[in-house]
Every structure is written in C-alpha cells, then in structure tokens.
Symmetry: C2
Subunit: 251 residues, 2 copies
C-alpha cells in the first residue's frame, strides 16, 4: 500500500484558484502531495476542517487553500509558500533572500486579488451577471492602470539582475512560479490587453516561458492534474472585459 504523502493540500476542486500557486511549488520540486478535495470524500473533509475552531497555534483557516503537514495546519497562500519554500528548495538559503521571495509573493497576491475583483467589483456574494456594468468600468481601470503597473514593477525587478536569472537571483523560487501563474491567467483572461501590456515587459514574458519549459512544470501542465482555466476561477475570459478588438478601437 502506498504511503500517504506528508503534504496534504486542501483547496476547492474544479478551479486552479489560489491553490494553484501551492500546486506549482510541489510540482516543480517533484514533492509528493495529496490534493485532498480532488479525492473521493475530499470536499467533505475540507468543509469539516473549515468548520472547526482549531487551536491558538493551529488556527482554523478562514478559507482554502490550507495545508496540513504533520501536526501543522497552515492557511493563506503566501504563508503556505513561505513554509514549504525552504523545505522544497524553492527559496534562497539566506534570510534576506527568503524575505525577498515573500515580498514578491505578497505583491503577486495583491495583483491576483485585483485581477479577481475586475469581474467581482461589488462582492463575492453576487454573480458576475449581477455586477457586469461595474465590472466593465473596473476593467478599464485595471487594463489602463494596474496591469501595466504590476508588469512594469516586475520588469524592473528582473532588470536589476542578469538575463535568464530569476526574481530572487540565479535560482528559481516559488515567486517565479507564481509570476508565471499570474502571467498565464492574465493572458487567458485579457488576451488583447495583456498582449499589448506585456510588450513593455519582455523580461517578465521570457521568465514565464522559461518556467513553463522547466521539465517538471512542462510535464505538469500537460497532465490531468493541471485544471483548465475557466469562468469559475480567479482569471475569467469575459471578452467584454478585455480591450476592444483591433479595428474597433479608434483614436
């Protein structure tokens, strides 16, 4: 009988969502992990843990994703990555390097939240269809302001070191995997706006391609473990929220 993996990831099945940032780290490191809610009875197990109170040093999660590792329960994507990063060899060995990775992850988390809120500017309790008008307005602000700002920031970070290096130096960290994931998601959600904006961020684009070509990531992306982007996740392809197609845009 196969031994149960020591890492158990709890995340909603059916979407990449925030769980994907954790999955990418396990996949890159080829670390065995159980994606609990995609197993039989797993969603019930997840929901049961969400209802528990936890303890002061192992508090119940506010929301998925959360990770169980031996006796530890830990929620919040960035905290999970900060915990598994050193264990999987996905952060620099130095304290400053680890904080650089955490800082980047938190900036990416802000970017991800803003990307989500483009289609949910009023509230998560409402359907997109009930906030389409506000979403259209927010998408204009996102495409013209926030998208180029975040891309420009990471382009600047990458420009501080030599070509073909990573965000925190010569070796890959979980922050690079996360940047790849945001790039992939935004390319899916806003194909036209992203293609335009990324022209000014060639290093970000090149880094994302380089991550996708890493053997373990490439194998993962082709596997059934990688869910497809869809319109229940963070990054949704609603054509009306992308910039108008060429030819329809006049100056």
């Amino acid at each position: 009988m196969a031994q149960k993996p020591e890492y158990e990831l709890f995340y909603w099945p059916g979407i990449q969502g925030r769980g994907e940032f954790v999955r990418l780290a396990f996949e890159e490191a080829a670390a065995p992990y159980l994606d609990v809610a995609r197993e039989s009875g797993g969603v019930k197990a997840l929901e049961k843990l969400l209802r528990e109170r936890g303890t002061p040093v192992a508090p119940a999660p506010f929301a998925p994703p959360f990770l169980r590792h031996r006796k530890l329960m830990i929620a919040q994507t960035s905290a999970i990555l900060h915990y598994i990063g050193p264990r999987l060899g996905l952060v620099p060995a130095t304290e400053v390097g680890r904080f650089a990775a955490l800082q980047h992850q938190l900036t990416i988390a802000d970017w991800v939240a803003e990307s989500h809120d483009v289609h949910h500017p009023i509230g998560v309790s409402l359907y997109y269809e009930d906030q389409k008008q506000e979403a259209a307005r927010r998408s204009t602000d996102f495409r013209s302001g926030r998208l180029p700002k975040f891309l420009g920031y990471f382009e600047s970070v990458l420009s501080a070191s030599s070509r073909r290096s990573y965000l925190t130096g010569a070796r890959i960290s979980y922050a690079d995997l996360s940047l790849f994931q945001v790039v992939s998601g935004l390319r899916y959600a806003f194909p036209r706006a992203f293609a335009r904006a990324v022209r000014k961020a060639p290093r970000v684009s090149e880094l994302a391609e380089r991550v996708a070509e890493r053997p373990n990531i490439a194998a993962y992306l082709k596997s059934s473990r990688r869910l497809a982007f869809n319109e229940q996740g963070i990054f949704r392809n609603y054509p009306e929220l992308d910039e108008p197609a060429a030819g329809r845009k006049k100056r």
Copy 2:
C-alpha cells in the same frame, strides 16, 4: 547627538494606512524607529527609494510601507511584521506559533483591502466621488456579508482558548495589534454597522479594548505620533456607506 534608530519605516505621511500596523508593533515593543516620511525631507527620500530598482535579495518596494533595517529593505506589511515580530518579541517562540501569527496577519490584510475597496470599488486612480454609486452597492455587500464573516472568524479563533488570552496564545503578538487596528478603523468608518455586527463578536471587542489599554499602546494613542483617522486613508467615515440610522430602517 542621538543615535539614529536602527529601524526606518517608510510610509506616506498624513494617514495611518498600512504603515500603522508596523507602527503599532514598534510602539508596543517600545522599539525606537524612525518614521522617515514624517521627518524633514522624508517624503523625497521615500520617493527616491520607490524609483530604484533594488537588487535580487533587496528588491525595490512596489508600494509603501517598507522598512530599512541595516542592509535589509523589506516591503509588504505582513512581511515586515513577520520580520520584526521575533526581533521585538511579538510572536510566539515556536515555528507553528509564528506561522499562526502570519496567517492571521494575512487574513487581516485581506479584510483591510476589502474595507478599503468599499469606497474604491472601481479603482484607486479615481476619486471616491467618481465611484459613489458603486461604493454604495459594495457597502451593502460588505456590511451584510464580509464584515460579519471576518468578525465571526476571529471570534471563533478567540473562542478556542481561554478568556483574556490572545490570538496565538497567552502572550500578545503583532496579529492582536493588527486586529485592534482593524476594529478601530471599522468602528470609525461604519459606526452603526460595526456596532451591530460586533455584538456577535464580544471576544474580538474585548481583545481590542485590552490592546488599547496596554500601557505603551495607550500612551501612543494619546501622543501626536498617532494620526487621526481621516478620509484619505483606508478607513473612511462616509455616512452614506454606513447602515441607515435607527428609525429609518424598517423590516
């Protein structure tokens, strides 16, 4: 001549903002820190650092707050607190306890971002006055859904341990200071809705009072270092976004 404090906090002057979570930690620990942008020439120093590219292990910040400590530069509120927490004695000594504090801080950061977006649902590039209608809609969702949800979560966390303990155990951590700050901000921004919602979260309310009464925090709150809440910050008192006054609300 007085020695320069080893911790230099960079944050916009004039608002509490996200810098306040860091200030509260320094104040509780009675650790000397320089609030750079409130000194002469400080805003220029902050803006200069924002324009720099940094290095792979000390990347430039995406936005304030950021902290300089010796050779380290670190941005993102939660990362700053995770860094200074052990140095100031504001986290448990164990790894699990430190991750519990980080997890809570990240949940509070989500709550703070959502509190901000109530008055800025469309984008930070626009004034509140240009998104009042959307803000009114979002405030309804926030008051009826998100506010009780976050309060209920932290009430549940506190109910897992004995009375008069803190989020991560018997001793105070930076997460408790942050919870106090969110409670204070929401009480300012939504006096009626918060008063109603917090009735179901008596432990959260009691914790916030207990934090406010700690000698160093009490002294800080009375000092000129504590800026007043105002309508340029995260928590803004726009009466039209609060629940209607009693008597105007019918069932």
